[in-house]
């Protein structure tokens, strides 16, 4: 069935699936940003840098281990390493700044972004790094006579798993419930004898770990290079704004809107596809200035 010239239903379906695989990455990174925004009230501009570091760590670990196994080991170790790095930053510096104004925190995370960028440059130099996907995820399979990359299919499986994991963590575990309570009223949680400072450290660590996981997942599909942090952090901020600041499910909704409008726009009007997700952001903000779901701010 043909909709217009070369746009068939099969092509449209395939484009939706490709868009959903991009949505997975956007959701994973945005949900970390949203978690930190919602609980700690920190607009973490350095979130993209941690995503970049996640990709570089993945490259290092995968190269060290070698072969297809290298990627799987890196997929586990790199986000954990990013989480531990963020824990150091949180315990060393952030925990002394929570009572400061948002502007101060904003400036700090901006400075942190610059420092982390320079550290990456010092460690890895300015050349590109590239990592191959494991053999079983290379190539594509046929979907309605059109090729669909195996790696994108893998991402489609990872997205729901991460979403379920986050739901479980925040709704079914004690630490998750405490974190949600601390997001609403940190004084009340502290009055109950809970060490809010460590709760915050845990949440910050998980949020950054998600950024590292996003970086690890994109490593086989793109250049691992300085500057890869800039684009993603802007997109993620737009996603959490349209989803509702600090609302993790809002991040999922925002990522879906961003990823799908971008992907379908490329098929429908390829010459101007760049503007589609941004037009969607403008429309959402015109209709619901505070975002689609309830903002925690």
């Amino acid at each position: 069935m043909e909709i217009a010239s070369h746009i068939t239903l099969a092509a449209l379906g395939q484009q939706v699936l490709v868009g959903l695989s991009r949505t997975t990455i956007l959701f994973i990174v945005s949900s970390g940003l949203s978690l930190i925004l919602g609980v700690l009230r920190i607009p973490n501009i350095s979130h993209g840098s941690l995503y970049m570091i996640g990709a570089f760590f993945t490259y290092s670990v995968a190269s060290f281990v070698g072969g297809s196994a290298g990627f799987w080991v890196a997929l586990v170790l790199a986000p954990i390493a990013v989480g531990l790095l963020s824990l150091l930053v949180e315990r060393g510096i952030f925990c002394h700044l929570y009572e400061r104004e948002h502007l101060m925190l904003l400036l700090f995370t901006f400075s942190l972004m610059l420092v982390l960028g320079d550290l990456v440059k010092l460690t890895y130099g300015s050349d590109y790094r590239s990592l191959a996907a494991p053999v079983m995820l290379q190539g594509s399979f046929s979907l309605g006579n059109l090729p669909f990359p195996r790696y994108n299919a893998f991402l489609l499986l990872v997205g729901p798993l991460v979403a379920f994991g986050l739901w479980f963590l925040t709704n079914k575990t004690k630490i998750g419930k405490i974190a949600r309570a601390a997001a609403v009223d940190r004084e009340m949680v502290a009055a109950m004898g809970i060490n809010v400072s460590w709760v915050f450290a845990f949440v910050f660590c998980i949020g950054c770990l998600l950024a590292g996981l996003g970086g690890a997942l994109v490593a086989p599909t793109q250049n691992i290079t300085q500057g890869m942090d800039h684009a993603i952090v802007m997109e993620c901020f737009l996603i959490v704004i349209i989803g509702g600041l600090g609302n993790m499910w809002g991040a999922l909704l925002g990522a879906l809107i961003f990823g799908l409008t971008s992907s379908i726009g490329i098929l429908v009007w390829p010459q101007f596809a760049i503007v589609f997700p941004y037009v969607a952001v403008v429309i959402v903000l015109l209709l619901r200035p505070k975002g689609l779901l309830k903002s925690t701010w």
Binding site: A11, S126, T221, Q222, T225, H230, P270, Q271
Partner: protein, 403 residues
């Protein structure tokens, strides 16, 4: 006592002569402005290093006319304002005699304007805008790299020989992408009027994921695709092409697809059968001069030279050669000396055309193929495209300049 006095006087005189001689010798400063941080440095570091390599050799032989060259570098960080400020600083404070750089076309055009005002020679080494030696060319600007007009002509000459009729164009949504795509398409239409354009896709520079672009193009079923993307986007594009099997379903041409700087990072994971054009391969031409150059560069820096190394080397050859001829770096005498100069390079004799100051380099159209010798793909089935085939002729330049 008298003997000692004579000895002291003799030593003092010798020292005086030595110092006097040293004072007479000059240091000729050359300023290099380019992006040495971030992704473009993959290309620009080789320009700088090969330039310095040649200058070092000249200096080791005593310089030119007893005068030695000093190279000063400044990082533009790919920003026009920063790069232009650095170029001004090099002229005003450091007193450089010539400027060299840059990969950013916008910055190259801005420095070109400055060079014209200051009467200082500027050698554009990696910026591809055809305006540099074309419409906006002037007496003090020289373009060493191939430009978008030449890429367009060379690619069209190669594609016209293929049986493809229905094309799709896709590329970076900025000047380089549009100029390359337009150049290829306009020339291809002249050579093969029956070609048809099915559609176009344009993406932002630094696009992280090309998969949706490729799947959308495949749905349109073109015979071939012209991909006008450059720099940092080449690697992820090739990765997405490999993942989707794009190159196996539809042949595509991408200017820099066969360049080492693009292929080396992807390793064996790059797709085979992609058509690309380049001014240089370290393994082609298979000549003694090229082998010697590749070895010299590798011995000095521990890495294989990419196309940028050729540009840097030729630029140094031209500057030192013209100084040898003119005995000055200043004004019209130097420009007269460098205009029309021919130098022996790793790719053969290269002429800096007198009319438009464009270096006439050969181009090589090849197709990516795995190699047993290297852990990255190389260009296979290389077709030589001569400068006469690729470069716009003088009448076209006159037309572009409104003459």
């Amino acid at each position: 006592m008298k003997g000692k006095l004579w000895l002291i006087l003799a030593l003092t005189a010798a020292l005086g002569l030595a110092l006097g001689g040293a004072a007479m010798a000059k240091t000729i400063k050359i300023g290099m402005v380019d992006c040495y941080s971030g992704p473009p440095s993959t290309y620009t570091n080789d320009v700088r290093d090969a330039f310095k390599l040649y200058i070092k050799k000249v200096n080791a032989k005593g310089g030119v006319w007893g005068n030695k060259f000093e190279v000063l570098t400044r990082d533009s960080k790919f920003k026009v304002d920063l790069g232009l400020a650095a170029a001004k600083e090099l002229i005003m404070r450091e007193g450089v005699s010539a400027l060299v750089g840059t990969i950013n076309s916008g910055l190259a055009l801005a420095i070109s304007d400055l060079a014209q005002r200051e009467n200082i020679p500027f050698f554009a080494t990696f910026s591809k805008s055809a305006k540099i030696s074309g419409a906006k060319g002037h007496r003090y600007v020289f373009q060493i790299t191939e430009n978008t007009a030449m890429i367009g002509k060379a690619a069209a000459a190669g594609l016209a020989k293929k049986p493809y009729i229905k094309y799709w164009i896709a590329g970076d949504d900025y000047e380089y992408g549009h100029a390359v795509a337009d150049g290829v398409w306009q020339n291809l239409k002249k050579l093969k009027p029956e070609v048809k354009l099915l559609g176009q896709s344009w993406w932002k520079v630094g696009e992280p994921d090309f998969t949706p672009y490729i799947t959308a193009i495949l749905a349109a079923k073109p015979d071939a695709v012209i991909v006008a993307t450059g720099g940092r986007d080449c690697v992820p594009f090739l990765k997405a092409a490999q993942a989707t099997g794009f190159n196996k379903k539809v042949p595509f041409y991408m200017h820099t697809a066969t360049e080492l700087a693009t292929l080396r990072p992807v390793g064996k994971g790059a797709p085979e059968g992609v058509m690309g054009t380049s001014n240089y391969h370290f393994y082609y031409p298979d000549s003694a001069a090229n082998k010697a150059f590749a070895k010299e560069f590798q011995d000095a820096y521990g890495r294989i030279p990419t196309v940028g190394a050729l540009y840097g080397y030729i630029t140094a050859q031209l500057i030192t050669g013209a100084y040898q001829k003119a005995k000055t770096m200043k004004g019209d005498k130097f420009v007269d000396a460098v205009e029309g100069m021919k130098v022996n390079t790793p790719v053969g004799t290269v002429e800096l055309r007198a009319y438009d100051h464009q270096a006439l380099l050969p181009m090589y159209l090849g197709t990516t193929k795995k190699s047993d010798k290297y852990d990255f793909l190389v260009a296979d089935g290389i077709i030589d495209i001569t400068p006469a085939e690729a470069a716009p002729d003088v009448n076209e330049i006159k037309k572009a300049r409104g003459k």
